[in-house]
């Protein structure tokens, strides 16, 4: 039942549209949101693999105590590149990739509001990645993805690596800012007739809030790195304490961006899971309004918690207390989401497709990341845990649990729509179990590594206590995780050629992207149906069924109101 549809499904073919050119120039010059979306997904997944290789090198170095495989210099460069790559070149932009491809389809639009800006946004991202990775030919940055001043000042890191990092922030920042404005305008203006705010798919809600958060947070980091750039090259002293500057200013500006960035990374993941769970539970999402509202509340509170990254800095107790309590508050809407997801499963009929397995793996894993977050929010406890492997474990539970597993769920869920072919479920299951087990073997033990006293960002550690065996376990897990990821890469490459043809709606899903062919034509829809609920495809299937039983004559197409969406 789960994979191949045999019953008649609504299908609308685009007529009188010129067959699209498929040569490489069509990709380089495209402004089509679907092509750009695929380019985003492919490019960012490439960076994911690069970042993963860096992670495995880090784990190799740490697999033994007092290891001399990597020099301290190379080690610092690797974790800086790993963190920067995964955050700025993978998780944030891959969400833009899914958003690009599916937001217009889900809201019944024919493209994004500003197709040329959309292309600009993609090429800025590519430029940022190239500038940053060009630094491997001279000297990559060594200051971590947080690049704290004064360590990032030219006095301590004179090489151009930090500058490459600054330009990466600027370029990917412009990319995200332009893209976010595009998302906002598209979602605000180009929804199908009848799709009020209360009928928007939850993934679109997530991308809307993602865009708003990016618009609010990015100018701050752009300003902060510009000050760093002038400090490094033009004799200013914004972060230089000896000249009246303030190193803590960097930390405040960085985290004022950096914490919303966490939600920028996980909210679209929440959106993907909120789409996948109801489809494979064969049930409406439980508490649509609560999930949409909690997304907005999380985003708002997410702007008020930044200094919980700075509990160990010289700060007054009242500041610590404020940020502890605001961080507590954010657990409430997150708990509401968790409850609604589990309640969506309740009394459903669950089909364990690979997309569903990844979504369930997300629930299982992200909960642990959320709970360890409570430990870190309590500032006296944080004094023991911050800057140790406990934090490394926590942030990977949040980002791999909250974002990466959701991304993989999205890949398995939407691949048929993007390519017209199914991914292999069998290979996908192998990939899922390898990734889930590999992930937990790698990171669960890291909580104990941190509690055992090992700080993060150290290139070597002494063989005391259980540190060596714990680290070895973690390294073994990381390779299992890496193999799991590569199995999906194999699955994708293989299925492009030999995957079963999917048809327009292989999952019997709920949202509008399944209304058109797979892959969709350039103009997406010839006609756009009127939206009557959160689950337009359910309405359409019901209508088709009714027409088939009532009217003996074949129905030419689904009864739709042929209103063109705004902007078409």
């Amino acid at each position: 039942m789960a994979t191949v549809t045999t019953t008649a499904v609504p299908q609308i073919v685009a007529h009188d549209v010129k067959r699209p050119d498929t040569g490489w120039t069509s990709w380089v010059t495209t402004t089509d949101h679907k092509k750009l979306g695929i380019m985003y997904l492919v490019l960012t997944f490439g960076f994911f693999i690069l970042g993963g290789v860096e992670a495995l090198m880090i784990r190799l170095q740490l697999s033994q105590a007092d290891n001399t495989l990597l020099s301290p210099e190379v080690y610092n460069q690797l974790f800086t590149m790993h963190g920067t790559t995964m955050i700025f070149l993978f998780v944030v932009p891959i969400m833009a990739g899914f958003g690009n491809y599916f937001v217009p389809l889900m809201i019944g639009a024919r493209d994004m509001a500003f197709p040329k800006l959309n292309a600009l946004s993609f090429w800025m991202l590519a430029a940022g990645g190239i500038v940053f990775y060009a630094s491997i030919f001279f000297s990559p940055p060594e200051c971590g993805w947080t690049c704290y001043s004064p360590l990032s000042d030219d006095q301590y890191l004179p090489s151009g690596g930090v500058d490459a990092w600054i330009f990466l922030i600027h370029l990917t920042g412009i990319s995200s800012l332009v893209g976010s404005i595009n998302f906002y305008v598209t979602i605000a203006n180009m929804r199908a007739p009848g799709m009020g705010w209360g009928r928007m798919p939850l993934f679109v809600w997530a991308i809307l809030v993602y865009a708003v958060l990016l618009i609010l947070a990015l100018p701050v980091i752009a300003g902060a790195v510009t000050l760093l750039l002038t400090d490094r090259h033009f004799g200013t002293h914004f972060y230089d304490a000896a000249q009246g500057g303030a190193p803590l200013l960097w930390q405040h500006l960085f985290w004022f961006f950096g914490h919303p960035e966490v939600y920028i990374m996980v909210l679209p993941g929440f959106g993907i899971v909120s789409e996948v769970l109801p489809v494979f539970s064969r049930k409406p999402i439980f508490g649509y309004k609560a999930i949409a509202a909690s997304t907005v509340v999380i985003a708002f509170l997410g702007l008020l918690v930044w200094a919980h990254h700075m509990f160990a800095t010289p700060s007054p107790t009242i500041v610590l207390v404020f940020f502890m309590l605001s961080s507590f508050l954010i657990a409430v809407p997150t708990g509401v989401k968790m409850f609604n997801w589990v309640a969506t499963l309740w009394r459903g009929t669950l089909e364990f497709t690979v997309a569903m397995l990844f979504a369930l793996g997300f629930l299982f894993t992200f909960l642990i990341g959320g709970i360890t977050g409570i430990f870190l929010a309590i500032f006296p406890v944080d004094w023991q845990l911050t800057d140790t492997y406990f934090v490394v474990a926590h942030l990977h539970y949040v980002l791999v649990g909250g974002a990466v597993l959701a991304i993989f769920s999205g890949i398995y869920y939407w691949f048929p729509k993007m390519t017209g072919r199914m991914l292999s479920e069998g290979i996908g299951k192998v990939s899922f179990w390898l990734m889930l087990i590999g992930f937990h073997v790698t990171f669960l033990i890291q909580h104990s590594i941190g509690l055992d006293g090992m700080p993060r960002r150290v290139y070597e550690y002494p063989d005391v206590g259980n540190l060596e065996i714990y680290n070895l376990v973690s390294t073994i897990g990381s390779f299992i995780l890496g193999i799991g990821v590569m199995v999906t890469v194999y699955n994708v490459v293989r299925s492009l050629k030999v995957g079963a043809v999917s048809g327009p709606d292989p999952w019997k899903a709920n949202t509008l992207e399944w209304f058109t062919t797979s892959p969709p034509p350039v103009n997406n829809f010839d006609t756009v149906p009127r939206i009557r609920s959160v689950e337009p495809m359910k309405d359409i299937r019901r209508q088709v069924l009714r027409q088939q039983t009532e009217a003996p004559t074949p129905v030419p197409a689904v009864a739709t109101e042929t209103e063109a969406p705004a902007g078409a």
Binding site: M1, P150, A242, A246, A312, N340, W346, P380, V381, S448
Partner: protein, 308 residues
Amino acid sequence: MNPNPSRRRTLVLALLATAGLTLLFTGTASADLLTPEDGGSPNADKIDSLYKVVLAIATVIFLLVEGGLFWSIYKYRAKKGAVAAQIHGNTRLEIGVTGAAALILVALAVVTFVQLDDIRNPPNSGPDGLELADGVLTASTSKRLPPNGKSLNIEVNGQQYVWRYTYNGDGDGNTLNDPFSYEEMVVPTNTTVTLDIRAQDVAHSWWIPALGGKFDAVPGYTNHTWFKIPKPGVYTGQCAELCGRNHANMTARVRAVTPAEFEQWIADKQAEIAAANKAAQVSRTQIEGDAGTAASSTDQPAEAGATP
């Protein structure tokens, strides 16, 4: 298509994985590796007990939610003839969940505030601790002192890649003559030690796990913490904030000795400094004497150099 066998297999695998993870979870718990280090100082002990309260609450939440999740996965897997209930939500339940989550957090906040004073504020030194003079320290708004105002104050200075400790001197006002040490800090037992934590190049973070949490050393700022060690012993730690290539090698050690031994150690240090000062004085007089006798030969080239 008949997905039932594979579904069952998936389920068995899921349950096995959970069982394995739970075992791992409780296994590390029994080995006391689910808690931070303690036993060196009352603030570290208090943080540890606060952590354990949070851990207990967290474990209950973890089991409840994951239990609900796995129960739903097992109970509601697609079966022949089963039809999914078309439920859209339940406002009362939503409000209930929100309220329950808020209540748990209020409880956590209360527990934290109850423990906070003992973690943040240093106690008086014990009766068998080092005898401290009154008013050794200048008043500071951000700094916390024991109720009687007496503590042994040490300045901790982070520098790439070593810690420097400066002790209060004999009160002659010349901080250059204060006793100091690198990497290993020697302190008396049962004495409240307050630290002024600074950095002179990049940011560092002071951390001896068994003596309490981390406190960042940031250039241009002074951070404060304290500890009070009951028994002689050695406590190790290391810099916890990335400070450059040799960050991993920036270790720190605190050696607690009896007050008598400590006084002896300080006296030795002071004697060393006094001896060095004396030697410097001797060599200064010698140089000045040499300069006096050889005035003509040393002055002339200098004057010649200064002449334009």
